[in-house]
Each structure stands twice: as C-alpha cells, then as structure tokens.
Amino acid sequence: MNDLITILSSTISAGTPILFALVGDLIGQRAGIISLNVEGCMLVGACAGFMTAATTGSLLLATLVAMIFGGLLALCQAFLAITRKRNMMASGFILNFFAVGLTTFFGRNFLGRSLGADFTWDIPILCEIPVLGPTVFSQDPLTYFSYLLPILAWFFLTRTKSGLLLCSVGEAPEVTEACGYHPKRIQYAAVIAAGVLAAIGGVQMSTVYTISWANDMVNGRGFIASAVVVLCAWKAERAYIPAYIFGLAQALQVFLQVKGVPISMYVTMMMPYLMTLAALAIISISKKPAMPEKLKIIS
C-alpha cells in the first residue's frame, strides 16, 4: 500500500509540470505554431515564480508573475514566427538559450534562498480516502488545477466558438480570414497561452515539486512536452496519458533502484524516454494522428 502511495505521489509530482507545458503547446500547435520555447517559458516561470514566492510567500502572486514573464517570452516567439515569419523551430530553440541566460543572471541571488512556505492544501474528507487521499487529494492548488486543465482545454477547443476558430487557423487560415477574423491575432493568442501555461508548469516545479530554484532546472521537460503533443494526437483530453506516463516512468526509475529490483540501472534511466517512445510508436501505428494542416507543411 505504501509503495503504491510512493509511486502515485511521484508520478503526479513529476508529471504535473509536463502536463501544463503539454496542454500549452498543444493549444499553440492547434493554431499552427509549434512553441519549442515552452522549455524556456517553463524556466522563466520557475525562476520568476520562485523569486516572487520566496519574497511574498504567496503562490497566487508567484503564479501571476510567472504567467506574465512566460507570456512575454512567448510573445517573442509569436513575433518571430508569425509577424516576421522566421522558422518557428529555430526561433523557439534560440529563445530557450535566451531564457537560460536570463534566469541564470536574475535568479543568482535566489539559488540559496528557501521558500519558507508550504503550499500543500489537503481537500477535506477526500484526503482521507486510502491511497488516493495522500496522493491525489493532498496536493497544492496548481496541481488540482492541472487535474482539470486537459478537460478545460478540450472544452475550449471543441465546444466554444473561440476554440473552434483557433483550430481553424491551424487547418485553413485563409478560411478563417474569409470569415472576417484575423488568423495572426488568433495565432498570437494561442502562442502566448502556450507560454503562460508552460510558465505555470515552471512555477509548480520550483515552488511545489522541488521547492527550490536551480539554474536550468527544467532540464528538457519542456522539449519532452513539446514532443509528446504528437502522442495525444493533438487532442487535449489525451494529455493526461503522456504526461503521467513520463511521470510514472520517472517514478519507476528511482523506485526499482530503491527496491533493489535486479534490472540494469541504465535501463531504468532510459525508462522515461523508452516508455514515451513506445507510446508514440503505438499511437502512430494504431491510428492516423490528427495533425493540423499547417503543421504538415513543416513536418
């Protein structure tokens, strides 16, 4: 029972930052723009959020500040990829390096700072359920929000006019334009939303998951999120699967070592990537992914 709690708890905490970035990039990709810069947005969010939380003790304020900075970095991507029509992969990639430098410089004074606050918020009654209570319902507000995020994103993209418009830009922007809307504006909004959500993933990582700030702490999670958008076939409601597969694999990577399971350490180290790749392969052979038309041009 305790082992199950350990694995579930580790899976949720490791998967949550990826879930935010994944849903964010998915929204951007549905509008036809790949935001490789979600890695940088996560980093900027982690840094700005930690600095704010350590200074004010408020998770809400930390999240808001992270969203602003994540959104600003995404604005750069939007400007380069949409207005200036630069290669979206290259601009996203370069922005990540920019984010590493920026956060290393500004976060320096907070490398040794403690947060001094615990943002865990147990949900009454539910937190007493065996196994699920101490894992699913004994988390922080950002993690609770992440539980709902894919459903909210699914609802937005498939059941609201704005969401359908956003998807139409990713499929046929000329049609959107013919209907009297501005595709570029919609793309701008989608890319900024991707950055904002990734930044929330970053602030969750620094203030709740690892409760510390370290240089380049996101360590490729944004890239993974960006890659596994394919895994959920651009359907927001499927975002839980790749995010928690990655979280589970990372949890098992350590768990198998702790339990002394006779399996090569190198196999356990590969596990998060192996499981994600396996899932990608299964998806790609079982069903044709619903890739937005605009993305097919660059793939």
Binding site: N2, R108, S114, I211, A214, N215, V258, I263, M265
Partner: protein, 367 residues
C-alpha cells in the same frame, strides 16, 4: 579628411599591436617557468559558482588564493565542455591570467592543446589525467576519507538504520564515495543498510526530488547526495524532517539544522604549490591525497549533531590522518560475496579508483 583620419587610426592600431607584442614577448622572456610572476589566475567552471556544491567549492579556493598568494582570481562560469572552452581560456590568457584552473573532465582534451600552445601558462586540472606533464599539473582530492567519516557519522545519527545515497553517474569518484560511505557506516553498525540510487544526471532537481522522497518513504532518515547542486535535497529533507549531507563544498549556511556535514574540496595542500609557481619555481605535480595532504576534508558539522558525536567524528578523522584506519583495508567484500581486497591488505589510491563494484551492504546496482 575622413580618409586621412582613417589612415591615422589604422596606423595607431598597427603600432599598438606591435607595442603589445613586444611587451608580451618581453614578459615571457622574463618569466622563465610557467606561471612565474603571475598576477591573475583563471578558474573555469562548468556550472554556476553559487550551486552550493562542486562549483561552490572553488569560491573557497579563490578566497584563499587572493588572501594567501595575493593574486587576483577571475571566474568563468557555465563554460560548456566543448571547443568554446578554448576561446574562454584564450580570453583569460589575453587578460593576463598565467595560471589556469579548469575544473571539468570535459575540458581535458582542450586543456592539453592549450597547454601545448601556451608553455608560459601553468595549468592545474582537477580530474586525473594521463596528460599530466610539462605545464599541465593535476590536483585531485581523494574522496574516500571524508566519505568514510560521513558514513560513520550517518550510522551514529540514524535511528532507522537505513541510509540513502543519491548518486549521479557510476563513475570512479562516485563508486569510491558510496563504498567508503558504506564501509564507514558499517564500522559503527555492521548491519546498516545503504540504499543507493543513481539519477544519471549531475543536477536534475526533479529527479533529485523524486529520489529523495522515495528514499525517505523507504525509511531512510539520512540522505547523502553525490550531485553538483544540493539545494533541492536540503529543502526536501527539511520538509520531510530528515537530515542530509552536502557534496564537495561546505554549505552549512543553507540549513544548519538539516545539514550534517559534507566531503569538502580542501585547498590547504595546493596553496604552497601555487606560491612556488608564482615565485617562479613551477614544478609539474600530480597531487592526490585526502585529509593529510589538505586536499579534502570534512565540512562544518551541523547544529543537530550532539557535541559528543561531533568529538567522536573529529577523533575518527584524526585516526585516519594518523594512519590508524585505512578506509579500504581488507577484507572488503563485494555485493555478490566476492573478495575485493583480502584481509589486512591496504590498497593504493590507484587500486581504490579501479573498484567497479559496490560493497556488501549496499542496496543498489551499477550494471
């Protein structure tokens, strides 16, 4: 008029280059040996010096160099382990650094090329290498002694009898550390259990968090990391009310009550060598040692350690210096029951660094 001005400018630049060249040549002619008369030393780090771990230990080196040798220290941080590093060192040399201190394994190849190109510059490298020779020296603090003392301290301090170790990669230094840590713990409690996990990364805070939490869930109440950045581990241990060690540097100030101690890179043995180099008496060295040579040590002991235990720990340290205890003295038995060192055998440092198995009592794998 503009053309005349441009011509004058070009002439001035050419003259200044000639002047610089002759000045540099004159300096080199006077210096004789590498690093002679140095006024600046460059330290090149792979990460940030504020990581409270490996890179942070060089801040202490810089302080000692500036205070005791009287030369300026220039830091270059986050330098990638590729050919960019050569450009960074060339820049330092152009700034007047005639002593260079690279700190990463990944710099070795480039450092060798730089050492060949700049015979007037003294290079001191941390990682052990065959490139040692000429103006390329190595300074390597051995880890087994401090880690042994840490293991003994952990065993005394632990109430559950389970210790956690979060390793990075299974490289010789890390293998020596976890083995010495276990042998130290077993010297106090022969049945103690050491749970070792390897993250495959030097500073993935997410994996550090997962590892730390799972080790604590498994009953470990003392965590020892071999990671570059240890801040996250200190925070997680603090939030879970267990104690932890640091790694490579004295980061006691981070959290004196959660902190137990650390294996610290010490520089006491290096400073006299550096003084000789600055005085024009450079000799190529391959320094390897622990407590006695002043190249590694035990960091400040934490506030939660009772005074009696602190005294015992320092007494153990002294016993090692006095050669009463040899960390890897046989019998040393591997996990599979095979004999690593026969009873009574005292292995050399080279033999210790070649161990590629975990000792009995460790719950973990290298394969």
């Amino acid at each position: 008029m503009k053309k005349l001005f441009a011509c004058l400018l070009v002439l001035c630049l050419c003259l200044s280059l000639v002047a610089c060249d002759s000045a540099e040549q004159g300096e080199a002619a006077n210096s004789g040996k590498p690093g002679a008369g140095a006024t600046k030393m460059g330290i090149i780090l792979g990460g940030s010096r504020d990581d409270y771990g490996f890179n942070y230990s060089f801040v202490s080196l810089a302080e000692q160099v500036e205070e005791e040798v009287g030369i300026e220290v220039v830091f270059k941080e986050n330098v990638p382990q590729n050919s960019d590093y050569e450009g960074v060192v060339e820049e330092l040399i152009a700034q007047g650094c005639t002593i260079i201190f690279p700190t990463q394994f990944g710099y070795l190849e480039y450092t060798k090329a730089l050492a060949d190109r700049h015979p007037e510059v003294a290079f001191y490298s941390i990682p052990i290498t065959d490139y040692n020779g000429g103006n390329f020296s190595t300074i390597h603090g051995e880890l087994q002694e401090p880690w042994y003392v840490m293991g003994a301290l952990a065993a005394e301090f632990s109430e559950t009898g389970k210790l956690g170790f979060i390793g990075s990669m299974p490289i010789p230094d890390v293998i020596v550390a976890v083995n010495a840590y276990t042998l130290g713990a077993q010297s106090v409690k022969p049945d103690i259990e050491v749970n070792a996990v390897f993250t495959g990364s030097w500073a993935d805070t997410g994996l550090q968090t997962t590892s730390c939490n799972q080790l604590i869930d498994a009953g470990c109440d003392v965590i020892a990391p071999f990671q570059d950045t240890i801040k996250t581990i200190v925070e997680i241990c603090d939030s879970r009310d267990v104690h932890c060690f640091g790694c490579n540097a004295d980061a006691y100030e981070l959290n004196p009550s959660t902190w137990l101690s650390a294996c610290e890179n010490a520089w006491g043995g290096f400073i006299p060598v550096l003084k000789e180099t600055v005085a024009g008496n450079y000799e190529c060295v391959d320094m390897r040692g622990g407590f006695e040579m002043g190249l590694s040590d035990i960091a400040t002991l934490g506030d939660d350690i009772p005074q009696e235990l602190k005294d015992k720990t320092m007494a153990l340290r002294q016993s090692i210096i006095d050669d009463e205890i040899h960390v890897f003295e046989g019998p040393v038995i591997a996990q599979d029951g095979s004999v690593v060192f026969e009873e009574g055998y005292k292995p050399t440092t080279e033999e210790i660094n070649l161990i590629n198995v975990l000792v009995k009592g460790i719950n973990g794998t290298l394969n």
